[in-house]
Structure formats: structure tokens, C-alpha cells
């Protein structure tokens, strides 16, 4: 197995799917001649040509609306939003069109659309370019929301997303692109809608996803040195949400910490916590803790920004509080 960066894994999945199926094409801002603002589609334009790697104007509604229309004709567009912060300019098309059309027209409209985008803070981009609004998108039935935390999952889930006949928001994290991991070669598929155990343990359950998986794994390593074995459940897909591994783990550990980068209020952690109480109340030995972003727009200043985003120490502390 090759050790690839997240960037390489995503790029490989896109490349292989485009080679496999001529109906797959990419459209978005700077995806072609530029090679992608995060260099994920570097080399694609020269290899696949301008018809299949389509540079768009700065028109988010047209990118997503156009992607929906093309998907309705049976194509499999990967429509890219340069960052998830720009998704708000296309919110109507994501929420009122993509998420609704299959249902609203009685099943006759089929949308094999992938919306590739990237979120997350920590790069001093200021309040408008640093958000983690994943939970907002996960609120809507009809939308699939995927957010991988490892290069292997990124490859396998992106392939699954491209082959799915539903609209999928595929949310990458800007500070994970350099993260390396083992990535299976060839046609490697990770099923959508399946949470997984990324680290086994018996003392406490940490539920997380995307960038916070990396931090949670570091926290678990440090806790292990103190004899605390944390089990880490990686959600991978936020909707449809697979709670089985979470509940199974919780029934064993009876304690949980939910770690997300987005804001705590109305967030992923709120949902997971509620579900634990609803589905496994008899197993609760301590109040479930949530680790999340401070309730402020992210500031530019590096120190201030870092203090607003969850870190390894926050996770360790939360774990100790539930033990």
C-alpha cells in the first residue's frame, strides 16, 4: 500500500473515476488551467481537456445549479466550491433544489452530483474564510454529507460519492491535505453512511470526524501513556448518520466526549449527545462532554484564532472530566 497525502488520495480518486467513466467531469473555479486552488486537480486539464475539466466564472449558484442540471441529464458532475464559505452563495441550490428534487417530483429526478468543497479554520484567513458549518448541511434530509479524516477514507468515500445517485456534499479540511496515510491502490470504495472505529479502547468513547480525528488520535496516544484507553469513533458521514458503532462503543465505555471543529451550539456534538441519551440512557455513567469551537467568529490573530479552535489539550481535559 502506498503512503499518500490526503491531497494525493483525493486527486487519485478523481483521476481514476474520470478514467473509468466518461460521464464524470469536474466544474468549478480555477479547477482547470490553474490546477485547483489546493492543487488537487493539477494535471487534469492537460490530460482530460477543457470539456471535462471546466473552469467556471465566479458564480457559485451557477456552479451548483449547473451541476444539478447536468446531473439530471445522467452525467456525474463533480462541482467544486473553492471553500465551504462560498457554499452560502449557492445555499438555495444545495438546499432548495439538490436536497429536494428527488423527493418533491416523486422520485423521477435523479441527481448523481458531488459537491466537493473544503472547510476548516486555523490558517489565519479571518472570519469569512475559516468556518466549519458542516452541521448546517447535515440538517437537510435528501442531502448526503461526507467528511473524511484519513487519506484512505478520502479516496474510498469520494469514489463512493461519485458513484452514488444522490447529491453528496464532500467536505475536505484545508489543513489535512498534507496528512499522510496508507491508501489502498485501485478500485477502493468506502461505503457512505458507515461510521468506523479508528482506535479501539475500553475506558471512554471519543466521537469525532475530519480534522478533529487527527487531534483525537494524538490525545488518545497521550492518554494511553497515563493508562487511559480511548476508543475513537470516526463518523465519516454526517448524513445519513450511522450511530451503531457509537452506541456499541458507549455501551462498553459508558462515557463519551464528542469532538468537532464547528461551533457547539446546534452542532454535530449536540446531535450525537442527544442520540446517546435517547438510545443508551441506561448506560450513562457521566454526563457526555462536547469539545467544540468557541462561540465567536474566528479572528485573524494567530493566538486568538488558535485559542478558539479545539486542541489536543482540550480533548484530554474533557476525557478526564468524564472519567
Amino acid at each position: 500500500m502506498a503512503r499518500l497525502t490526503m491531497r494525493e488520495a483525493i486527486s487519485q480518486a478523481l483521476w481514476e473515476e474520470m478514467e473509468r467513466d466518461p460521464k464524470v467531469f469536474i466544474m468549478g473555479e480555477e479547477v482547470g488551467v490553474w490546477g485547483g486552488t489546493y492543487a488537487v486537480t493539477k494535471g487534469f486539464y492537460d490530460h482530460f481537456g477543457a470539456d471535462r475539466v471546466r473552469d467556471t466564472p465566479i458564480s457559485e449558484a451557477a456552479i451548483i445549479g449547473g451541476g444539478i442540471g447536468a446531473a439530471l441529464t445522467g452525467l456525474r458532475p463533480v462541482a467544486e466550491l473553492m471553500t465551504i464559505n462560498f457554499a452560502f452563495s449557492a445555499m438555495d441550490h444545495i438546499v432548495n433544489e439538490a436536497a429536494k428534487m428527488h423527493y418533491m417530483f416523486g422520485g423521477q429526478m435523479v441527481l448523481p452530483l458531488v459537491i466537493r468543497t473544503v472547510g476548516g479554520g486555523g490558517r489565519q484567513l479571518g472570519a469569512t474564510h475559516s468556518q466549519t458549518p458542516d452541521a448546517i448541511f447535515a440538517h437537510f434530509p435528501g442531502l448526503v454529507v461526507v467528511a473524511p479524516g484519513t487519506p484512505a477514507d478520502a479516496k474510498g468515500l469520494l469514489k463512493a460519492a461519485i458513484r452514488s445517485n444522490d447529491p453528496v456534499m464532500f467536505i475536505e479540511h484545508a489543513t489535512l491535505y498534507q496528512t499522510r496515510g496508507e491508501v489502498p491502490e485501485g478500485d477502493y470504495i468506502v461505503p457512505i453512511g458507515k461510521s468506523t472505529i479508528q482506535r479501539p479502547g475500553k475506558d471512554v468513547t471519543i466521537v469525532t470526524y475530519s480534522k478533529m480525528l487527527e487531534l483525537s488520535l494524538k490525545a488518545a496516544d497521550q492518554l494511553a501513556k497515563e493508562g487511559i484507553e480511548a476508543e475513537i469513533v470516526d463518523l465519516r458521514t454526517l448524513r445519513p448518520l450511522d450511530m451503531d458503532p457509537v452506541i456499541e462503543s458507549f455501551k462498553k465505555t459508558n462515557r463519551a466526549v464528542i469532538v468537532e471543529e464547528g461551533w457547539k451550539s446546534y452542532g454535530v456534538g449536540s446531535e450525537i449527545t442527544a442520540r446517546i441519551y435517547e438510545e443508551a440512557f441506561d448506560y450513562v455513567d457521566a454526563p457526555v462532554k462536547r469539545v467544540a469551537q468557541k462561540e465567536v467568529p474566528l479572528p485573524y490573530n494567530r493566538t486568538l484564532e488558535q485559542s478558539a479552535i479545539p486542541n489536543v489539550e482540550d480533548i484530554i481535559q474533557a476525557v478526564k472530566e468524564v472519567l
Binding site: 451557477a62 445549479g65 449547473g66 423527493y103 417530483f105
Partner: protein, 320 residues
């Protein structure tokens, strides 16, 4: 044009009028819920526009969509059944008045967010361009939609990519209750297409034959690879924006003035004066249409409600 074609146009326009009149009654009886936007007065627009399309050509429109659905070949039965929310409706009773479609007839809805379907139309046209299939996408929208950002993003993209799309502004003079010149900096709406270097024209939307001719010409140009075209069709809606519109924004004699130019009445007169059909033939046809709509209402009223489990079907295509 053959006699049959003339009578077919007349059939479609009258059927839409009768359907809409029955829909208004059904709404007043409480059998139709939600919003109901009637097409009365605008029948010549979609009838003339869609008449020259080939089966490859796609049609997409806004929420005033019952008439367009009929012109695309949906039956009065499945249209009325959808209005009543029945399982036999074209969207299985899940869409309602504003969300009618039939993909098999290349009719892509029925979209209720003003202007939001214009980018979708660009995407449908991209589908044909990408797949090298011969279809042209006909995208209808109201004058009000030309003030929202989606309109500008979609028109720009269509020109940049030379998409096979016919943009059709159905100018009925009011966006809800706001007159065009109160809402649009440029009240000559077709001029907005100039801003995107899209060739454009306008036509009298009360004259079904003129609309048909203008549509045929533009579809031909687009099919030949000429890229997008823009057609402004001037019309007038005889009824309120939706049921329950108090109509404080216009005077009754303005409505009456337009009603004197009723597109159906004028076409009827033309058919007789030009010797295309006799009064007797037309009355016979009108009886047939009356029966068609009566049957559709009966069918819809006798159709079953959607099964309870339909609540949970079609949220996703896949099983996860």
C-alpha cells in the same frame, strides 16, 4: 401548417383555460391546498413556444406550471390529480401545484424559488452539449426573475459556454404585485440579454402563431450551434398572482383592456375568419375539451391518496 396543427394549438389553449377554471373552483372548495398560480391569459405563450420543440428538447419553468405541463404532453388527469395531492399525480402527490414534472416527456418542472431554475437550465443544456445530444433546453421564467442574481449567473455562463438554451422571459407586467418599471432598472427586459451578448427578440404573447414562429426560428438557430438566445414574450395574466391576491396594484379596466385581446378568443376568431375551421367544428372541439377536463377532475377526485409509507420514499435514491 396543417388544419390539424391549428386545431391542436387551439385544443391546448382551451384545455389549459378550462383546467385552470376548474382548479380555481377546486381551490375554493378547499380541495387544493397551498398556493395556486393560474395561467389564465397566458395560454398562448407556452402553447406557441413549445409547439415547435422536438422530443429531444427539454422544457423547464417556474411555479406557474400547469399549462406548461399540459403543453409538454402531460394529461389533464395527472395534472389535476397532482393539484389534489393524489397518488396518481405526475409527482405522486408530493409536489403539488408548483412542482409538476415528467422527465420522460422532457419536462423538468415546475420550480418554485424565483429564478433558481435558470442555473439548472444551463446545466441541462450543458448535459446536451457535453454528451453531444441534439436537445435544446427551453427555460421559461417571469419578468420578476430577471432581477435576481441567478438570472445573471445563468445567462453569463450560457454565453461563456455557448450552451444550447433558449431563455424565455414571460413578461406578464407584474412580479407578484410590483409592476416591471417599479422593479427593474431596465423595463425593456430583453435588453438585459445584450449585457451578455445574447441575441434577443420580443414577440406578442397574445398571438399564439407569432410566438410559435419566433420560437421555431430561435430553436433552429440554437440547434445549428448558435449558442443561447433570449426571447421576451409580452403577455398578461387575467387573474391574480395566486388565489387570494387582493389585486390592489392594478385597476379593473386595465385587466378588461387586456381581456378584450384574449389570446383564445382572438385565435378562435382567426380560425373562423381564415376559413381554417367552421364555428360548428370549433364548438364540437370545445365540447370534447370540456369532457376531457370533466373526466380529469372525476379521475383525480376518485384517485387514491398516497400510501402512508410514501412519506419516507424518494428521500434518497440509494439505500445507505
Amino acid at each position: 401548417m396543417e388544419k390539424k396543427e391549428y386545431l391542436d394549438l387551439y385544443h391546448q389553449m382551451v384545455a389549459i383555460r378550462r383546467m385552470e377554471e376548474r382548479a380555481a373552483e377546486l381551490y375554493q372548495q378547499g380541495k387544493i391546498g397551498g398556493f395556486l398560480h393560474l395561467y389564465i391569459g397566458q395560454e398562448a405563450v407556452s402553447t406557441g413556444l413549445i409547439a415547435p420543440r422536438t422530443p429531444d428538447d427539454r422544457v423547464i419553468t417556474a411555479y406557474r406550471d400547469h399549462g406548461v405541463a399540459y403543453n409538454c404532453g402531460l394529461s389533464a388527469r395527472e395534472i389535476i390529480a397532482e393539484l389534489l395531492g393524489k397518488a396518481t399525480g405526475c409527482s405522486k402527490g408530493k409536489g403539488g401545484s408548483m412542482h409538476m414534472a415528467d422527465v420522460k416527456k422532457n419536462y423538468w418542472g415546475g420550480h418554485a424559488i424565483v429564478g433558481a431554475h435558470l442555473p439548472l437550465a444551463a446545466g441541462l443544456a450543458l448535459g446536451d452539449l457535453y454528451s453531444k445530444t441534439p436537445g435544446v433546453t427551453i427555460c421559461m421564467f417571469g419578468d420578476g426573475a430577471t432581477n435576481i442574481g441567478y438570472f445573471h449567473e445563468a445567462l453569463n455562463l450560457s454565453k461563456v459556454w455557448n450552451l444550447p438554451v433558449l431563455w424565455v422571459c414571460e413578461n406578464n407586467q407584474y412580479g407578484m404585485g410590483t409592476a416591471v418599471d417599479r422593479a427593474s432598472a431596465v423595463s425593456d427586459i430583453r435588453k438585459k440579454a445584450d449585457g451578455y451578448a445574447i441575441l434577443n427578440d420580443e414577440v406578442d404573447g397574445m398571438d399564439v402563431l407569432a410566438v410559435k414562429e419566433a420560437s421555431a426560428k430561435m430553436l433552429e438557430e440554437i440547434r445549428a450551434g448558435g449558442g443561447p438566445r433570449f426571447l421576451e414574450i409580452n403577455t398578461y395574466r387575467f387573474r391574480g398572482h395566486s388565489m387570494g391576491d387582493p389585486e390592489r396594484y392594478r385597476k379593473a379596466d386595465e385587466v378588461h383592456r387586456y381581456q378584450e385581446n384574449d389570446p383564445i378568443g382572438m385565435f378562435r376568431k382567426y380560425l373562423i375568419a381564415a376559413g381554417i375551421a367552421s364555428e360548428e367544428e370549433i364548438v364540437k372541439l370545445e365540447d370534447v375539451i370540456e369532457e376531457e377536463v370533466r373526466d380529469a377532475v372525476e379521475f383525480a377526485e376518485n384517485s387514491p391518496e398516497p400510501a402512508p409509507e410514501e412519506l419516507y420514499t424518494n428521500v434518497y435514491f440509494e439505500t445507505y
